[in-house]
C-alpha cells in the first residue's frame, strides 16, 4: 500500500464516514395513529391488550375465558425476532387456542400455533396465511386438565422454526413439537405483534420472553 497524499486520504475517509453517519442517522419518522376509543382494552398479568373479537370472553387481570380474540399492545420486537411464549391454559373438550405471533395488528400474516383438545388429547397445528402443516398430538399432555407450554418461535429463520415444550428441558430432542423434525413450517411471520384466539378456552398466563433454545 503506497501512501501518496495522507491529507487527501484522511479527507476521503472523513467524507466516507460523514456520508455513513448521515445515511444511518435518518430519523425514524414513525407514524402514530390514534387509538380507537371504542376498542375494548384489558390487562392479562402485566401485559396490556386490545380486544379484537369480544365474543363471549370473560376477562379479568388473571384470566381470559370463553370465545374471542385479543392482541397484545406491545410488540414482540423486530419482525425477525426470536422469542419464547409461556402459555398457561385449559380447554373445554373441542375447544382450541390459537397463539398468533409475528403477525400484523389484526393477527394476520403471522405464525399461528393452534392447540386443540379432543378428549384428553392435545394437538398442535402450525399455520401461516392459511397454509398448514399436519396437526401433531403432544405426547404426555393431558388436555383434560390445565397445561403449561413453552413455545419458541424463531422468526429469524425461514421457514420459521417453532418448538413446543412442557417442562424445563429446552433442548430440541425434548420438544413435543419441533417444526424442523416434525414437518416443515409452511412460512414465515411478517409482523411484530402477537395475540390469542380463544374458542371454549381459558388462559391464565401468556408471557413473552427470550428464546429458550438458540442455535449457532
Amino acid at each position: 500500500m503506497k501512501l501518496v497524499d495522507k491529507s487527501r486520504v484522511h479527507s476521503l475517509i472523513a467524507a466516507v464516514w460523514s456520508i455513513a453517519a448521515l445515511t444511518l442517522s435518518a430519523c425514524s419518522g414513525a407514524d402514530t395513529k390514534s387509538s380507537d376509543a371504542a376498542t375494548p382494552e384489558g390487562q392479562l398479568g402485566s401485559a396490556g391488550y386490545v380486544v379484537l373479537d369480544t365474543g363471549d370472553l370473560q376477562r379479568t387481570t388473571t384470566q381470559l375465558k370463553g370465545t374471542g380474540s385479543i392482541a397484545f399492545k406491545d410488540p414482540i420486537g423486530e419482525i425477525g425476532a426470536s422469542k419464547s411464549y409461556l402459555l398457561n391454559a385449559s380447554l373445554d373438550d373441542g375447544g382450541s387456542i390459537k397463539l398468533s405471533v409475528n403477525a400484523d395488528e389484526t393477527l394476520k400474516h403471522g405464525a399461528e400455533i393452534t392447540l386443540t383438545r379432543t378428549g384428553s388429547l392435545l394437538s398442535a397445528k402450525l399455520s401461516f396465511d392459511g397454509a398448514s402443516a399436519a396437526a401433531k398430538t403432544l405426547a404426555g399432555i393431558s388436555a383434560a386438565s390445565a397445561f403449561s407450554l413453552t413455545i419458541d418461535v424463531h422468526n429469524d429463520e425461514n421457514p420459521t422454526h417453532i418448538l413446543i415444550w412442557s417442562g424445563s428441558d429446552f433442548t430440541p430432542t425434548k420438544a413435543l413439537l419441533e417444526s424442523e423434525r416434525d414437518g416443515v413450517t409452511p412460512g414465515q411471520g411478517r409482523g411484530s405483534y402477537w395475540g390469542l384466539v380463544l374458542n371454549k378456552a381459558t388462559v391464565t398466563g401468556a408471557v413473552l420472553g427470550l428464546p429458550k433454545f438458540t442455535e449457532e
Partner: protein, 358 residues
C-alpha cells in the same frame, strides 16, 4: 458428494498425522488443504436462558483451494454445523475466480460469503470475538449471508486505494434458511466501496460503505446500508491494537403491513497485554427505530451488550478465548431481559489457511 467426503476424510487423516503447520500440494498443482475447528462452550450464569451449558464443536471446516490454471483460482469450503444436536455438512463456499483475467479487477463466480461489511467476509473462527453482534445476527445470520452468483471488484486508477465491489446473487434465500427458497422478485444485489490509509506508528485503517437489497418472492423488500472500519497497529508481527466497528441500518418494506427500520452497531477495541495475549471489549447496540405498539404509539427499545474477551494465540494456528457475554434488552412496558453467559472458544487451523485481506 460421497467421494468428496471420502477424499476430505483422507485429507483430514493425513493432516492430523502431519501436524499443524503442514501444507499439502498433492500433485504439484498448487492445491492446498486446510482444516479449521471451532470449538465453543457457553455456560449460563443465571440459568435463565440462551446458553446451552456445554462445550461443542460449533464448526468443522474443510478447505481446498488453489490455482486451476494460469488465470483462474478455485475454492471449495465445506463445513459441518450443529443443527438440532446433529452435525450436518454443507457447502459454505464453492467458486472460481480470477485476479489476472481483467486488469485491475478480480471476480468470482459460484457460492460465497457476500463481499460486504467486515464480519460477513470472514468465517467466524477468524473473528476477533466469539459470537456475532446482534445486528450481524439479525441482518446477516449467525455467521454470514451467503449465496450463489457473481461478484466483481475493480481497483480505481487513483493515487490512493479505492476499490469498488458489486455483486448479484440468486436471492432465492437470505439469512438463516432451511429450504431452497423461492425465486425473488428482485435478486440480492450489493455494492461496497473500500479505501485504505496508512496510519502513524505502523498503523493502517480500512473503511467501507456498503449497500445490499433484495425483494423476496412475497414482495417484501429489504435494504441494508452500512459502514465498517478496521484499524490495526502492528509491531514486529504483534497486533498491538485493533479497532473494529460496523454500523448498519435495515429497512424492511413488506408488501402487506408496516415497514420496519432497525439500526445496530458494534465497536470492538482490542489491545495486546502481552505478545500472545490480547484483551478486547465488544460493545453492541441495537434498536428498532420504527417500533410501535398496536395502537400506533412509538415504543422505546434498545438492546445493549458488553463482551469482555481475553484472547491467547500461541501462533496463527491456535487461538483460545474466554469471554463474559452480558446483554440487556429494554422495551417500554416489558420487563428488562438480561442474559449473562460465560463463553470459551478454541479455534485450530490445520494446514495452509489462505491469507485474508487487511
Amino acid at each position: 458428494m460421497k467421494y468428496l467426503f471420502l477424499y476430505l476424510r483422507s485429507l483430514m487423516f493425513v493432516a492430523l498425522l502431519g501436524g499443524a503447520s503442514t501444507t499439502f500440494a498433492d500433485d504439484g498443482s498448487g492445491l492446498k488443504t486446510s482444516v479449521a475447528l471451532d470449538l465453543v462452550g457457553s455456560f449460563n450464569r443465571t440459568k435463565l436462558n440462551t446458553a446451552n451449558d456445554r462445550f461443542d464443536v460449533r464448526e468443522a471446516e474443510f478447505l481446498l483451494y488453489g490455482p486451476i490454471d494460469h488465470l483462474f483460482d478455485g475454492m471449495l469450503n465445506v463445513a459441518a454445523h450443529n443443527e438440532g444436536g446433529v452435525s450436518l455438512f454443507e457447502v459454505h463456499e464453492a467458486y472460481i475466480g480470477s485476479s489476472k483475467l481483467i486488469p485491475r479487477s478480480r471476480f468470482r463466480l459460484g457460492q460465497f460469503f457476500l463481499g460486504i461489511g467486515r464480519l460477513n467476509r470472514f468465517h467466524r473462527h477468524d473473528w476477533p470475538f466469539i459470537s456475532a453482534p446482534k445486528e450481524h445476527l439479525e441482518f446477516f445470520g449467525a455467521e454470514a449471508a451467503t449465496d450463489t452468483g457473481g461478484e466483481y471488484s475493480y481497483l480505481m486508477p487513483l493515487p490512493f486505494f479505492l476499490e469498488l465491489t458489486a455483486g448479484v446473487t440468486n436471492g432465492w434465500t437470505y439469512g438463516h434458511v432451511h429450504n431452497v427458497g423461492q425465486r425473488p422478485r428482485v435478486p440480492t444485489h450489493y455494492g461496497r466501496a473500500t479505501t485504505y490509509v496508512d496510519l502513524p506508528a505502523n498503523g493502517g485503517a480500512q473503511t467501507s460503505l456498503n449497500f445490499l437489497s433484495r425483494t423476496s418472492a412475497q414482495g417484501d423488500a429489504m435494504t441494508l446500508v452500512g459502514a465498517d472500519l478496521t484499524a490495526k497497529w502492528r509491531e514486529a508481527g504483534v497486533l498491538n491494537f485493533l479497532l473494529q466497528t460496523e454500523a448498519w441500518q435495515r429497512t424492511i418494506k413488506p408488501l402487506i403491513g408496516s415497514s420496519e427500520r432497525s439500526f445496530g452497531m458494534y465497536v470492538f477495541p482490542q489491545f495486546a497485554v502481552a505478545d500472545q495475549t490480547q484483551f478486547g471489549l465488544l460493545m453492541d447496540y441495537f434498536t428498532v427505530l420504527t417500533l410501535k405498539n398496536i395502537v400506533g404509539a412509538p415504543i422505546a427499545n434498545v438492546e445493549n451488550r458488553l463482551v469482555p474477551t481475553l484472547t491467547y494465540k500461541t501462533s496463527e494456528f491456535v487461538t483460545l478465548r474466554l469471554a463474559y457475554d452480558w446483554s440487556v434488552a429494554k422495551q417500554a412496558n416489558i420487563a428488562d431481559r438480561n442474559n449473562q453467559v460465560f463463553q470459551m472458544q478454541a479455534t485450530v487451523n490445520l494446514g495452509a489457511h489462505p491469507s485474508h485481506d487487511f
